[in-house]
């Protein structure tokens, strides 16, 4: 019963951060800030959900399922960091310019890109 409540709590937290990330994705003004908001989904939206599933699996003595879930969490965290960086850099090189920047020191140092 207690375990059930803990699992639900984890899943609700995951849903909340995924929801916040999705709302941000719709409301943010340009591609770069949208990327920032989507990091919300890729980190806590996924991690809390994965944690909930792992607790469910381990509490049912299903260790194979549990370990695989944890591995999925680790892989998503490792790859989403690199992918986020690559998408942002690629977008900038492609000519997408962020709007209303307070300061852009990358532009200042590399005016030709």
């Amino acid at each position: 019963m207690i375990v059930r409540i803990i699992i639900d709590l984890f899943l609700i937290l995951g849903c909340f951060f995924a929801f916040a990330g999705a709302v941000g994705l719709l409301r943010m003004p340009d591609s770069f800030t949208r990327m920032q908001s989507s990091t919300n989904i890729a980190t806590f939206g996924v991690l809390w959900t994965v944690l909930g599933v792992a607790v469910y699996a381990f509490s049912n003595q299903n260790f194979v399922f549990g370990i695989k879930t944890v591995m999925i969490g680790i892989f998503i965290v490792l790859t989403s960091a690199v992918a986020g960086h690559a998408i942002l850099k690629g977008g900038y090189k492609h000519g997408i310019r962020p709007e209303n920047l307070v300061v852009d020191e990358y532009r200042r140092d590399n005016p030709n890109e």
């Binding site: 919300n40 695989k68 960086h85 307070v102 990358y106």
Partner: protein, 172 residues
């Protein structure tokens, strides 16, 4: 490029461990297939994957610091940043203030630089765009959703927080 034996062995062990954790069936057939694939992957990729001491992460004090960083220090920062960005996204006024700042980093090791850059990218609100080296000093260009300071040193302290000191304990 030449393969170093220690690098090949370290890559092989990592690949094989991941294989075992993903399959979790301990029949001879699966283990042998995994070992062959891991060995092939290790032979082809070890020279790109490992440039420094191959077993550095397995030294006891380094390993303990690494575990503390991954399980306690980083999740706390992740929590703070996630709550902050979620608040910004959900608040009616949408209080964002984006900018790209250049921040100095006092790390020398490639792995340390990559680890800090990825940690910064993973915390919502900051994404590392580029790492450059100028006169022996490394700099990050970071896209920041709320530029609180335009001074690069102050901005660096606010973005990196405790993370840099902990990574320096792991990678120098």
């Amino acid at each position: 490029m030449k393969n170093k034996p220690a690098a090949v062995i370290a890559t092989f062990i990592l690949c094989f461990l991941v294989w075992i954790l993903f399959t979790l069936t301990f029949t001879a057939q699966e283990l042998i297939a995994g070992a062959i694939v891991s060995l092939l992957v290790a032979l082809f990729t070890s020279s790109y994957f490992i440039h420094e001491d191959a077993f550095h992460l397995l030294k006891p004090n380094v390993f303990i610091n690494f575990i503390i960083y991954v399980l306690f220090i980083f999740p706390v920062e992740l929590w703070k940043a996630n709550v902050d960005v979620a608040k910004r996204a959900l608040s009616p006024k949408l209080p964002i203030n984006p900018g790209i700042v250049k921040v100095p980093v006092d790390l020398k090791s490639e792995y340390g630089l990559a680890m800090l850059a990825n940690s910064i990218t993973l915390t919502p609100g900051t994404i590392t765009m580029e790492i450059v080296e100028e006169n022996g000093q490394n700099y990050y260009y970071i896209h920041w959703i709320d530029v609180a300071s335009k001074n690069s040193k102050e901005a660096g302290d606010m973005i990196k927080g405790k993370l840099e000191n902990w990574i320096r304990r792991i990678w120098k």
